[in-house]
């Protein structure tokens, strides 16, 4: 598993994502997010479907977190946080499963996306998630997006990171 985590980290960095490995405790996670988002006025917290509720609950009262954001607030918020369905080592991608509360919007609308990934949900290659044996075959049923680094374009000449989707992607690997 350690090898998968390291490969994931190398490839995610290459794709211009930020990666932090932290202990899977509510204090470590809360501290990390508080540090990273301290200048943000509006944070939207999406569901952490594949994480223990004990990790997610303490995030609700972080400064800046909107309790029940309206769509207008969503369209202007600065940071989106959600849990990942899986990580993909060979490409450094996080795979997000949409459906639960605000996961689609937090991984898309805000310029800064923080995604929480359990270390034991990293697979070697994207196709592994299409195996019915993997994670109870959920990869074959859910609405998914494989996210590899921040949104990017080369249409305006040089490579520019930060287009319609998030400009900054930070992956917190919870070990």
């Amino acid at each position: 598993m350690l090898e998968l985590i390291e490969t994931f980290e190398t490839n995610a960095l290459e794709a211009a994502a930020e990666v932090r490995r932290i202990r899977a405790t509510s204090t470590a996670l809360r501290d990390e997010i508080e540090q990273t988002t301290k200048s943000a006025a509006s944070i939207v917290l999406g569901a952490g479907e594949f994480l223990p509720a004990s990790l997610m609950e303490p995030l609700g009262d972080l400064p800046g977190v909107l309790a029940a954001p309206t769509d207008d607030q969503l369209s202007k918020a600065e940071v989106g946080i959600c849990g990942a369905f899986a990580g993909v080592a060979c490409s450094g991608s996080v795979c997000v499963a949409m459906g639960p509360r605000l996961v689609a919007m937090t991984s898309l609308l805000m310029p800064f996306h923080i995604v929480l990934l359990s270390a034991n949900r990293i697979v070697a290659r994207p196709r592994d998630l299409f195996d019915p044996e993997c994670f109870n075959g959920e990869g074959l049923r859910r609405n998914l997006v494989f996210i590899t680094g921040p949104s990017a374009t080369a249409d305006m000449g040089p490579l520019v990171r930060g287009v319609h989707g998030p400009h900054r992607l930070r992956v917190l690997i919870l070990e």
Partner: protein, 756 residues
């Protein structure tokens, strides 16, 4: 549209998009060379390099291609059944499926759906299929604003141009030109110089469109029939915005995008990313089964509507393509653009010249003909058959074969000409291609001219240098007078070999039939003689065969019946030798490619093709194989100190030689002998057999060659030049034209440095 005989006044991408009239093809090439070429070259070559890098990192690249091909073959075979299954799945989930027989039919359905929702603004993700059906115009005519949200599509929408590339529609635009375009169209004083500023500017405009749009329109890379899942690949986040933010989502896709199961999307994930942009995965790869279950999004003041999903599948000629034994293969295309990026001509002029109203590049002709008229595929003449796209295609489509077939069908529509009839009779060429234009018949039956000329070589050489003869050849056959013609040798290879090497080798290690291909037998015979010398030195018995055309030249001109007849005759000749236990060695790479690759389409006897494919070799490839077999060290056979051209080499392998996998062995052998070798990394020299000889394409051919010439210059410094080594006859001509230097074939070099 300007009439055929009048030169068009102002040439714009739109004015030359339809190339059913050849004049517009020539105008488009000029426009692209004048304005777009440096940007296209940089961008396509960046993609191409990334593609090679990314595919080399895929541990199971070849297996993934096989898997992808199998899935596509199966899908197209079962297409009607899959459409029915998909309809049931979607309807059970509350979605809608509409199978549009024509572009107009599709536009009508989408327009009606938008109007029913009172839509004022539709935001679009990138979809080339909606360009094919001209959807924007249909919606705009109904008073609906269409916002293209992919930045490249945004640029071409602002500029009112057609896409020049299937995944990067504004690939022909430099940053400077985008900046000038935006300043002019938006009348803004904002600083719009850097990539960041331009992106920010477009992003701000489009963010408001996403949030306010009534309808989102996307394409689909693949659709799974068992779950109704769309696979959507993108890097900017605009497709996510388009498919998730507006409540009404319409996906528009060619019907060929359906595959049986969601599980079978797996092999395409990495394969598509690597083949397209050369990434491990693109920034966003979406798997959506709409209508999605996320709550609808609405800014205050906008009604909150339930989510609604429509899948519009486009036939528009695709079921007809499915019934066509040749063009069915087009439907396997996953539109990755690898065939565009690996094409030397496309790298030089892009899709506004090498493309039609919607589709471009190697595969583009088949799409344009299949979804429109055959004449719209005339631009596919820019496919030289160099075959560099063949190994790059993730679903193994034989793209040159499709283009040769388009050419064949276009040839059959040409007006009958007296010259064509005369030529066919004189050359005793198959009557099946009698109707083809004279230039095609000339190049396709070059062996006949070569054979006639070889009877009186001095006369022919003198005649071919006179101004009047060059004028005549240009007028009759489009043979550009600026090109040097190959000189005919005093005697043919067959005659010279019979005189110089009359006796068989006793107790030979192996026995070989050296095929007297047209270009070696009537042209560069020293290459054939050098092959004889080297093989005999290795104790190989060599016989030289009769000289026959193998059909490669005819095939490249779209004379398929002629090519098939020539291939059958030559294959039967060579198969006779193989059955006697001889291996076949062929000097000219394109002739060899016929027996290793092309002939599988032309020979009825597949056993014969397989035999010849396994037993035909390029001379140096054969030498390497022998030395490996004998476990002999290269330096024990060859002595680098005997080299007449020094030890510094620049080696350019032939395009088809690379495709059939016998270029690397030459490089390795030369290095192991002790040469200092720099190899070209261009896909093709630009001459590509007859292509560069044609008056219509001379400038393009030289522009393509410029990459190669520059690589040679960069590999040298003034005091230390490199000797040029190349395999192909036409590559040799091209290198000579560009650099005015002598070029050696590697086997000639090897013959010169044999130890005693």
């Amino acid at each position: 549209m300007p009439p055929a005989t009048q030169p068009s006044k102002e040439i714009t991408p739109r004015s030359v998009a339809n190339k059913s009239d050849k004049r517009r093809l020539l105008d488009a090439i000029r426009m692209a060379l004048d304005i777009q070429s440096p940007t296209i070259r940089r961008n396509t070559q960046t993609f191409n390099r990334a593609h090679y890098q990314a595919t080399s990192l895929l541990p199971d690249y070849e297996a993934l291609k096989n898997e992808a091909r199998r899935i596509k073959e199966d899908s197209i075979a079962r297409l009607p059944e899959l459409v029915d299954q998909l309809r049931q799945v979607l309807e059970a989930r509350g979605g809608h499926l509409f199978l549009a027989t024509s572009a107009a039919d599709a536009c009508r359905y989408i327009r009606t759906t938008c109007v029913r929702h009172g839509a004022k603004l539709a935001v679009k993700g990138k979809s080339i299929t909606t360009e094919e059906i001209r959807l924007n115009r249909a919606l705009e005519n109904a008073g609906i604003e269409v916002a293209e949200s992919d930045l490249a599509e945004f640029i071409v929408q602002v500029a009112d141009e057609q896409p020049s590339h299937i995944i990067a529609p504004a690939l022909h635009y430099s940053q400077e030109r985008i900046s000038a375009l935006f300043k002019r169209k938006f009348q803004t004083g904002l600083p719009l110089e850097t990539g960041e500023e331009l992106t920010q500017f477009a992003r701000n405009i489009l963010r408001q469109k996403f949030l306010r749009a009534d309808v989102g329109i996307t394409g689909a890379n693949l659709i799974a029939a068992d779950t109704g899942t769309l696979m959507l690949v993108e890097s900017e986040g605009n497709i996510r915005m388009t498919s998730v933010v507006p409540s009404v989502h319409i996906a528009v896709a060619g019907v060929e995008k359906i595959i049986p199961t969601r599980r079978e999307m797996a092999p395409f994930l990495e394969l598509l990313a690597a083949s397209a942009t050369g990434q491990k995965l693109t920034s966003y790869t979406n798997f959506l089964s709409p209508p999605i279950d996320d709550p609808p999004f609405a800014l205050s003041g906008k009604p909150r509507k339930n989510r609604e999903f429509h899948l519009v599948l486009i036939d528009n000629g695709r079921f007809r393509m499915r019934d066509d034994p040749v063009f069915r293969e087009t439907l396997y295309c996953i539109r990755c653009s690898a065939c565009l990026n690996s094409c030397a001509n496309f790298q030089t002029v892009g899709g506004h010249a090498f493309g039609g109203e919607t589709y471009s590049g190697g595969i583009g002709g088949s799409w344009e003909a299949g979804t429109g008229r055959l004449q719209n595929a005339r631009f596919s003449e820019l496919c030289t058959g160099c075959s560099r796209c063949v190994n790059q295609c993730p679903v193994r489509i034989d793209i040159p074969w499709l283009n040769e077939n388009l050419r064949d069908r276009l040839n059959r529509e040409a007006d009958p000409s007296v010259l064509s009839g005369t030529l066919t009779t004189l050359a005793s060429a198959p009557e099946a291609n009698e109707q083809a234009p004279p230039d095609k018949l000339f190049f396709g039956n070059y062996h006949w001219f070569a054979e006639c000329a070889s009877r009186f070589p001095r006369l022919a050489n003198t005649f071919s240098k006179t101004k009047s003869s060059r004028w005549l050849l240009e007028r009759l056959f489009g043979l550009d007078r600026r090109r040097a013609l190959p000189a005919f040798p005093k005697e043919t290879l067959v005659a010279a070999a019979a005189r110089d090497f009359p006796s068989p080798v006793t107790n030979p290690l192996a026995r070989v039939a050296l095929f007297a291909d047209v270009f070696t037998n009537y042209g560069m015979i020293s290459r054939g003689l050098a092959t004889l010398r080297v093989l005999r030195a290795l104790n190989i018995d060599v016989v030289v065969t009769d000289s026959l055309p193998e059909g490669r030249a005819a095939l490249s001109q779209g004379l398929i019946a002629t090519a098939a007849e020539f291939a059958r005759r030559a294959a039967s000749l060579l198969d006779g030798y193989v059955k006697q236990g001889r291996d076949v060695v062929i000097v000219e790479p394109s002739s060899l490619a016929m027996f290793r690759r092309d002939a599988r389409h032309l020979l009825e006897d597949s056993g014969q093709f397989e035999r010849l494919r396994a037993r035909s070799f390029e001379p140096v490839e054969y030498v390497v194989k022998l030395m490996r077999h004998l476990d002999r060290d290269a330096q024990s056979v060859f002595d680098v100190n005997r080299s007449p051209v020094g030890t510094r080499l620049f080696y350019h392998s032939h395009c088809q030689q690379k495709t059939i996998g016998c270029a690397l062995s030459t490089e390795e052998l030369l290095r192991s002998i002790g040469f200092d070798v720099v190899s070209s990394s261009v896909e093709c020299c630009g001459m590509a057999g007859s292509f560069g000889y044609k008056k219509d394409f001379f400038e393009l051919s030289m522009a393509v060659g410029e990459d190669l010439f520059q690589q040679v210059r960069r590999s040298e410094d003034e005091s230390r030049p490199r000797a040029l080594v190349a395999n192909g006859t036409s590559c040799t001509e091209q290198l000579h034209a560009g650099l005015r230097r002598k070029v050696l074939h590697p086997i000639e070099l090897l013959a010169a440095i044999l130890r005693d």
